[in-house]
């Protein structure tokens, strides 16, 4: 195997694919779009009228109009008499009151519903419902209850709220979940876009009918490693652009709008070394596994479309951990996340997610990596075999039975 040929081939693959419109859009266009969206969010959040639209002060008084004659002259705290319906509505519109509550005539015997006029944004407020309950209870029981008992109605019952995890722990857990989610999406995109480039590149060799010219010039191994090296570099370039863009975007462009995740350093600060090592190794092994499979499957079709059909199964099953993300977030050490960690092509994403979310037993980590290593071995055997035979095949797309035959015969 000549390293010079691998280098020339890798450089050519990198150069020509870098110039493709699809790559340029995905690499630079997506961060640009994200920047525009985040800058838009930031701009909107700084407009004063916007604050009025989304901010609701639930401590403002509620105006009351009692047409049923149920309430005593003195109202509980937080409630005020409205002069009339029109004045009450004006107060609500101007933001001086949270709501106008009208007890209609015949309430509650003939008419069962209160009328409530609200400020925008307060429609589904739990606080509002609670205050309405207080008002109705007050209306019903102010005659039968003593002043002390009535005073109890003015405030909701006190309760001791027990938080099982400490505040810091809860914050850390939330950060872990966010981090796992963001990283798994980035990881997934990096892994599959790079493997996808490989699949396309191999399929294109057949489609363009350049493959025999190349194989008369370089060995199958040189071609395979040349492509893998060039397109891996391309994939990692894309990843690097995304990470740098994300750092800039989250750190400066939209910081105020992104809360505690407003900076990349905030996102990465909670990352421990175990996670970094596991995620890095899983990314590397996962890439090798998918790349080798895609190289083989890419060689089976006569064109890019046929090759993509062959790779569909691998790609779909590879996304299982993301599709079943809720199971990982609920219980990272549950049965499904554990099983997926031991299947070679779902293991990279699964183990990375689990380690990001919780403490994973060392045995599970070892088993996941053993499965990935085994997977890489099998992918190398299958991928290279399919590549060697498939790359020179032409005519109709082979059936799965024929693929099985290719795997068993000498090449």
């Amino acid at each position: 195997m000549r390293m010079r040929n691998i280098g020339i081939m890798a450089a050519y693959e990198y150069r020509t694919n870098f110039r493709r419109g699809g790559f340029l859009f995905a690499t630079f266009g997506l961060p640009l779009l994200a920047a525009l969206v985040l800058l838009g969010i930031r701009w909107l959040s700084q407009r004063p009228e916007t604050e009025g639209l989304i901010m609701v002060d639930l401590n403002k008084p509620m105006l009351v109009l009692d047409r049923a004659g149920l309430l005593p002259p003195t109202l509980p705290e937080g409630f005020t008499w409205a002069e009339d319906e029109a004045a009450g509505k004006d107060a609500v519109r101007s933001g001086d009151a949270l709501a106008l509550v009208i007890l209609p005539p015949g309430y509650p015997e003939q008419v069962h519903r209160l009328q409530v006029f609200l400020t925008p944004g307060a429609e589904f407020s739990e606080a509002l419902n609670r205050r309405l309950t207080v008002l109705v209870a007050y209306a019903h029981w102010h005659e039968v209850l003593s002043p002390d008992e009535l005073a109890l109605l003015q405030e909701p019952p006190e309760a001791e709220i027990v938080v099982l995890a400490g505040q810091a722990e809860r914050q850390q857990q939330t950060q872990n979940t966010m981090r796992a989610y963001i990283l798994s999406v980035v990881y997934f995109m990096a892994l599959f876009s790079t493997a996808g480039y490989l699949l396309q590149s191999v399929a294109l060799e057949k489609e363009s009918r350049m493959v025999e010219v190349l194989l008369s010039t370089v060995t199958t191994w040189e071609m395979l490693w040349g492509k893998m090296a060039g397109l891996s570099a391309l994939g990692f370039t894309q990843l690097a652009v995304w990470v740098v863009s994300a750092r800039w975007l989250l750190g400066s462009a939209a910081g105020p709008a992104m809360g505690s995740f407003g900076s990349m350093s905030g996102l990465l600060s909670g990352m421990d070394w175990t996670f970094a090592v596991v995620a890095g190794a899983a990314l590397l092994l996962g890439y090798l596994l998918y790349a080798l499979l895609m190289v083989g499957l890419g060689a089976l079709g006569n064109n890019v479309r046929e090759s993509q059909q062959f790779s569909m199964f691998v790609s779909l099953t590879g996304t299982l951990p993301l599709m079943l993300g809720s199971l990982f977030f609920l219980n990272p050490n549950g049965l499904v996340p554990r099983v997926l960690s031991f299947i070679p092509w779902t293991a990279p994403l699964s183990i990375m997610l689990r380690v990001a979310l919780t403490a994973v037993p060392t045995g599970d980590i070892i088993a996941a990596f053993a499965s990935m290593l085994l997977g890489v071995g099998i992918a190398a055997w299958v991928g290279i075999r399919l590549f060697r035979v498939g790359i020179l095949m032409s005519g109709k797309k082979p059936s799965w039975r024929e693929v099985w035959y290719i795997l068993r015969r000498p090449v």
């Binding site: 020509t16 294109l204 363009s208 010039t217 370089v218 020179l392 032409s394 090449v411």
Partner: protein, 309 residues
Amino acid sequence: MTDWVIETQQLYKSFGTTRAVDGVALRVPRGVVFALLGPNGAGKTTTLRLLMGMYIPDAGEIRVLGGPPGAARQRLGYLPEARGLYRQARVAELLVYLARLKGLDARTAERRAQAWLERFGLADWARRKVHELSHGMQQKVQLAATLVHDPDLVILDEPFQGLDPVNVRLVDEIIRELQAQGRTVLLSSHQLHRVERLADQVALIHRGRIVEHGPLTALRRRYMQGRIAVRLAPGGTLPADLPGVVTAQPAEEPQSWYLQLAPQASPQQVLFALVQAAVPLEGFEVVQPSLEDIFLQAVAGQEPVLAAA
């Protein structure tokens, strides 16, 4: 001692139950134009792919340019039957890339690519993308890619396929130039009539087996069919009882006949008889067997498969 550029012994290759190459033994001396001929599906392309090291043989031995197949890739130029180019690539850039893979440094590769583009009248198209070129121009680029690194051995699989007459002539010219430079050219084709004016030596392959091989002149002698073409002056008549002639068949042209000789008869004997009978001869030619005739005779008894060339 002969310097063999290609040497194979008892070469076998099967795909499933189909035996594509069945005991092929080839010897191609240096500096000749060697034609591997046979109908479609005879095993030519598989044989070439074995020579290129793209397939591993089931059995047999191969030596190309003194080493195992694939060892001398940089001294070898290959124009495959299924050929194409990257449609989005720029012409000169693609040629430089292939030349560099063949071992040339960047500067030499650029110089050679430019020279071949000029040779084929494509210098003005160097920076254009391949898909902007006509079909004929793309074929010239493919040929340039085969030759850009000055190979010692050139293997052309069906080089005339899909070519217009102008490009057929161009390929003829290139092959003759390569031959004049002392390079070895291995041609594979099912178009026997196109090859016979170029080849020094041929091997006829049928169902994966070499059915005949050797220098073309020797093969022609061996397969001489005892036919003579005669043309008479206007008014002349062909005697009915020429000695040694079994049948006389009128040819397409007026006053012309094909004479089939008896096994022991010689052309000289017939010519002597015609002169003695004072027949007004305008033409007398011993008919050479075409490659197609030779092939048909060589596979006689086997299933006829030769497509009309």
